[in-house]
């Protein structure tokens, strides 16, 4: 019953959403160049299925690669900031400043820096846009570790590395995954940003762009929905990882 509910409720919600959408388009008599309706979409998917599959794959792997880099770099940076006060004071303003830059402005900069390296640029953008929350959460998690937790092992003469591995690292996992949920969405946005803005892009973003240039409005909406689905898949992949590695942080009664 519980699992049935868990699956059924979101499906009903989505069906309702599509129904309302269809209804609004029909009631207002919008032509499909203003607003495509859900019933226009299957045709777009069937016609451009190959492009959806290859574009979806491009978008997916580049997002995951960028996020992977963000996890490695963000964790390393967070560790440095978590263990050293000086590093924290030095890096924090830089990071905040970098994070404040609208990432769209970086697309042309990167395109000029690494001309023609579309894959590289896309992964780089996904990485740049998404490492910040990870670095901050790991840094804060480590620097706010209660001294008593450290002392459990330190009083036995354990090395710093052992303390990190057995206590600090697992203890920051819930914060890490909290940040990863934000980062995965950001990385996805970063990938799409480059795909849409770059003149010769690939992936779902480029498919969206070609829909626009060819005035194929149902295709554009179909891409949007595909992006939403891919975003949901990525997000829940992180949730699943969180369940496996930091499930202990979930209290049984809320």
């Amino acid at each position: 019953m519980k699992t049935f509910q868990k699956i059924a409720v979101p499906i009903v919600a989505i069906a309702l959403f599509l129904a309302v959408w269809e209804f609004l388009v029909w009631v207002n008599g919008w032509p499909n160049y203003v607003m495509a309706s859900p019933s226009d979409l299957p045709e777009a998917y069937i016609r451009f299925w190959n492009l959806f599959v290859s574009g979806g794959w491009q978008t997916l792997w580049r997002t995951v690669a960028g996020l992977g880099l963000a996890v490695l770099f963000g964790t390393a940076l967070g560790m440095v900031m978590g263990f050293s006060r000086v590093a924290r004071d030095a890096l924090y303003p830089l990071l905040v400043g970098f994070n404040a830059i609208p990432k769209a402005t970086l697309v042309p900069v990167l395109a000029l820096l690494f001309i023609g390296q579309h894959n590289f640029n896309t992964v780089l953008m996904a990485f740049l846009i998404s490492f910040f929350p990870i670095a901050v959460s790991v840094g804060i998690g480590l620097s706010t570790l209660e001294p008593e937790y450290r002392d459990i092992l330190r009083s036995l003469g354990a090395s710093r590395f052992t303390i990190f591995r057995k206590i600090a690292l697992p203890k920051t996992l819930p914060e890490f995954f909290g940040a990863l949920k934000v980062s995965v969405t950001l990385a996805f946005i970063g990938t799409n940003l480059v795909e849409i803005i770059s003149p010769h892009g690939r992936g779902l973003g480029a498919l969206f762009l070609s829909g626009q240039t060819n005035s194929n409005y149902p295709l554009m909406f179909a891409v949007l929905i595909a992006l939403a689905v891919l975003g949901i898949v990525l997000y829940y992949a992180v949730v699943a990882l969180e369940k496996i590695f930091a499930g202990w942080a979930e209290r049984p009664h809320g």
């Binding site: 209660e146 008593e148 937790y149 002392d151 459990i152 092992l153 330190r154 009083s155 036995l156 003469g157 354990a158 052992t162 057995k166 206590i167 697992p170 203890k171 996992l173 930091a246 202990w248 942080a249 209290r251 049984p252």
Partner: protein
């Protein structure tokens, strides 16, 4: 009998933005092997600092800490520590929490043997059947029991406890006092117990050290003569005239330490 723990003329100050804050002032404490030293003193006088010095987590400015005839310069594997908070690791089961020190101290000990040791201790404190539970599934008193097991699982010579029962209700606390005596009977260790409960210090201690207000000196040492011929100490003993007398003495000393007593401290 030799003194297993010896604190000789320890003076320590913390460096703060407002200059040095003297915390310990020429402190002397000696605990013979197998005995239980209770330390009481006004809040903020430097008791936790003392535990960190004994454990080798910090070095005193001057003076020396000796354990087992060796000068303490850094943490050592033969020390066990219990804190006011149980600080159990939420991602480990109770059994794995208790095993943790063995992973550091005896990395080559087979898993089976570690588990057997932890299970034995958990049974001793009345936690059998809770081995696979998470800390969050236990009550505060049960968590503190598990924390005690963790502090002695590696058979330390020296057990240092910083107000381990401070946050518990009176009944649970008395329960744990008895558990403590039961542990002592089966596990030989020399202990320093920081507490702010005078009855606890008399019930558990062989000696009670009263520290003065900050910076802390050893203001008074009480040799506990518990009214109990043999066997484990019984709680009822606390309500005898002998204990009432000892408690009155301690209370008076604490008031002097807090600077609330008309007469001056004698030293």
């Amino acid at each position: 009998m030799t003194n297993l723990i010896e604190i000789k003329g320890v003076t320590h100050a913390y460096q703060t933005p407002n200059g040095p804050l003297p915390v310990l002032d020429n402190l002397n404490i000696a605990v013979p092997e197998g005995e239980f030293a209770a330390v009481v003193g006004p809040s903020g006088c430097g008791k936790s600092t003392l535990t960190r010095l004994i454990a080798g987590l910090m070095k005193p400015d001057t003076g020396e800490v000796w354990l087992h005839g060796e000068r303490v310069k850094s943490p050592r594997k033969t020390v066990g520590m219990a804190f006011q908070n149980p600080v159990l690791l939420e991602w480990r089961s109770i059994l794995d929490n208790v095993i943790l020190p063995l992973e550091i101290v005896a990395p080559s000990m087979p898993r089976k043997q570690r588990e057997a040791r932890a299970e034995e201790l958990l049974a001793l404190v009345g936690l059998q059947g809770f081995e696979s539970k998470r800390p969050s599934e236990l009550s505060g008193g049960m968590r503190q029991r598990a924390s005690l097991c963790r502090s002695i699982v590696h058979k330390p010579d020296v057990l240092i406890m910083d107000e381990p029962f401070g946050a518990l209700d009176a009944f649970t606390r008395e329960d744990l006092w008895q558990t403590m005596h039961a542990l002592r009977a089966s596990e030989p260790f020399t202990a320093v117990l920081i507490t702010h409960d005078l009855r606890e210090s008399v019930y558990l201690g062989d000696q009670v050290f009263v520290l003065s207000g900050r910076p802390a000196r050893t203001q008074y040492v009480l040799d506990v003569h518990y009214p109990q011929a043999e066997g484990l100490r019984k709680l009822e003993g606390l309500y005898t005239p002998e204990c009432a007398q000892m408690l009155a003495t301690l209370r008076e000393q604490i008031q002097i330490a807090q600077g609330r007593h008309p007469e001056q401290a004698v030293h």
